[in-house]
């Protein structure tokens, strides 16, 4: 996030964003105070966490919960809250 910000001469006029889907480049992981961590042994891959995550930060591979996108997870804790088997712990960063 320490990149040099651009001058008025280097950015599109009018606040336009010329690139589609570039919100992905905006790393919001730095906002986090509590970090979700998963206990693989307890997880039943119900994907409630994936459904509820407001920032699409639950990774899924082959239909299974495959961890967190820590670049974008803000640590809101919704995943831990909705998990029916309580396999997600929120740990202070």
């Amino acid at each position: 996030m320490a990149e040099k910000k651009k001058s008025w001469k280097e950015i599109p006029i009018g606040g336009l964003i010329l690139e589609a889907g570039n919100a992905n480049e905006y790393k919001t992981g730095g906002w986090r105070t509590f970090k979700p961590e998963k206990n693989d042994k307890k997880c039943i891959n119900c994907l409630f966490c994936w459904m509820y995550c407001p920032d699409s930060s639950i990774k899924v591979e082959d239909g299974k919960m495959a961890g967190f996108d820590y670049d974008h997870c803000k640590g809101c804790g919704i995943c831990a809250s909705v998990c029916p088997v309580k396999c997600i712990d929120m740990k202070k960063e």
């Binding site: 001058s7 008025w8 950015i11 599109p12 006029i13 009018g14 606040g15 336009l16 010329l18 589609a20």
Partner: protein, 397 residues
């Protein structure tokens, strides 16, 4: 007239503007009628109904919606126009700023009318003067003829790739909007050629190259976007002469940021916008016949403010009066006056200056009123002193 072969036809200022819009044939017009602009929308609606234009006319339920629809249409890539007056402009307010900030080249004829309250439908400049810092280019027209010409020119100004700012083309409510004058129209073909086809750089309808208009812009970049706007507005001062020259080449009519009359050797001068300049010009002739060295300066472009042009034109003037058809309630005089005074500060001339607020709510300004101003200027010149910097011309004491 070079290159054009049309005769003068009798039109009101509103009809003249509606005719310009017909010839421009914009992609979208979203407008709401309000006196004294109503005729513009009325005539233009006729052109749409008669199939004389291919414009998509959006009859909205308010001016807030009119400008919102214009913003949407312009962002989509359409050549977009609207028109309004007074309280209609006030109701648009929020979106007026957004149009400028999003750099959408919307052209809006404004028929100047007093803002309520008390409610009044007649001419003064309180509506557009309130919007002078909204980021729109503002052009003030003396006649229906000029409103016609400027409406056409404004399309090119707004859409210039190094400008991309919306333009207000202002004329005096009723005085020129409803008075019939002989208007020299250009050939449809010439106008079409002059305005050309609008190709937006980043239209929303270009689905292969999706862009985002109007995202949240906080502490990190908002300032830079405002800076771009102000640099672009300054740039207008450099770019307009090219467009004036092209306009002259096409239509044979010379344009400049300002219009002067017998100012070169004038000792005393009046500075006024729009139709009042016509009255002042006849008074100048009368006074000149009596040996009084009177002159006149009429800024045509008010935003951006043509500071250098004005100062240069005033170089020989010893005492000047700025006529403001709007009160800014700053207790420092009207908007044109404070602008002129600010311009003088950095210049190497220092004429004595005085301000007259006049014509509010359509109060007529007569040649005798103008004569009084020149006579006051004569006294200022003689006494080498400005007795009253701020005066109210035509208000009963």
């Amino acid at each position: 007239m070079v290159n054009t072969k049309t005769k003068k036809i009798p039109l009101t200022g509103d009809q003249a503007v509606a005719t310009a819009m017909k010839q421009i044939d914009p992609d979208v017009v979203a407008a709401y009628p309000i006196t004294p602009q109503t005729e513009i929308v009325m005539y233009f609606s006729n052109y749409v109904a008669n199939g004389q234009v291919s414009t998509e006319l959006i009859p909205v339920e308010s001016e807030h919606s009119a400008m919102s629809a214009c913003v949407g249409a312009s962002a989509a890539g359409a050549r977009t126009m609207t028109a309004t007056s007074a309280n209609g402009l006030a109701l648009m307010w929020e979106i007026v700023y957004i149009a400028a900030s999003l750099r959408l080249p919307i052209v809006m004829p404004v028929v100047n009318r007093a803002l309520s309250g008390p409610i009044n439908i007649h001419c003064d400049h309180s509506d557009t003067m309130g919007a002078r810092d909204s980021g729109w280019i503002q052009i003030y027209c003396e006649s229906g003829q000029e409103a016609y010409e400027n409406t056409i020119l404004a399309v090119r100004i707004a859409e210039h790739k190094d400008i991309l700012l919306p333009v207000m083309v202002c004329q005096d409510g009723f005085i020129t909007s409803h008075a019939v004058e002989g208007v020299q129209l250009f050939e449809d073909k010439k106008v079409k050629e002059f305005v050309g086809e609008y190709k937006a750089a980043h239209p929303l309808l270009d689905v292969d190259n999706p862009v985002t208009y109007g995202p949240l812009d906080l502490q990190d970049y908002y300032f830079e976007h405002k800076r771009q706007q102000s640099e672009s507005m300054k740039g207008v001062l450099k770019i307009l002469p090219e467009l004036f020259a092209e306009f002259e080449k096409t239509f044979g009519i010379k344009y400049d940021f300002i219009d002067t009359y017998k100012l070169e050797d004038a000792d005393i001068a009046i500075i006024a916008l729009s139709s009042t300049a016509g009255t002042a010009r006849s008074v100048v002739d009368e006074l000149r016949a009596q040996g009084v060295k009177a002159g006149l300066l009429r800024p045509r472009v008010f935003r951006p403010f043509p500071n250098e042009k004005i100062i240069k034109a005033l170089k020989n003037v010893k005492a000047l009066a700025v006529l403001d058809r709007a009160e800014s309630f700053s207790a420092e005089g009207g908007p044109l006056y404070t602008e002129i005074k600010a311009a003088l500060y950095d210049s190497n001339i220092k004429p004595m200056a005085t301000n007259y607020i006049y014509g509010l709510g359509g109060r007529d300004i007569f040649p005798d009123d103008i004569k009084k101003v020149y006579s006051d200027l004569g006294a200022i010149l003689k006494n080498k002193k400005v007795a009253n910097p701020i005066n109210y011309l035509g208000s009963r004491e």
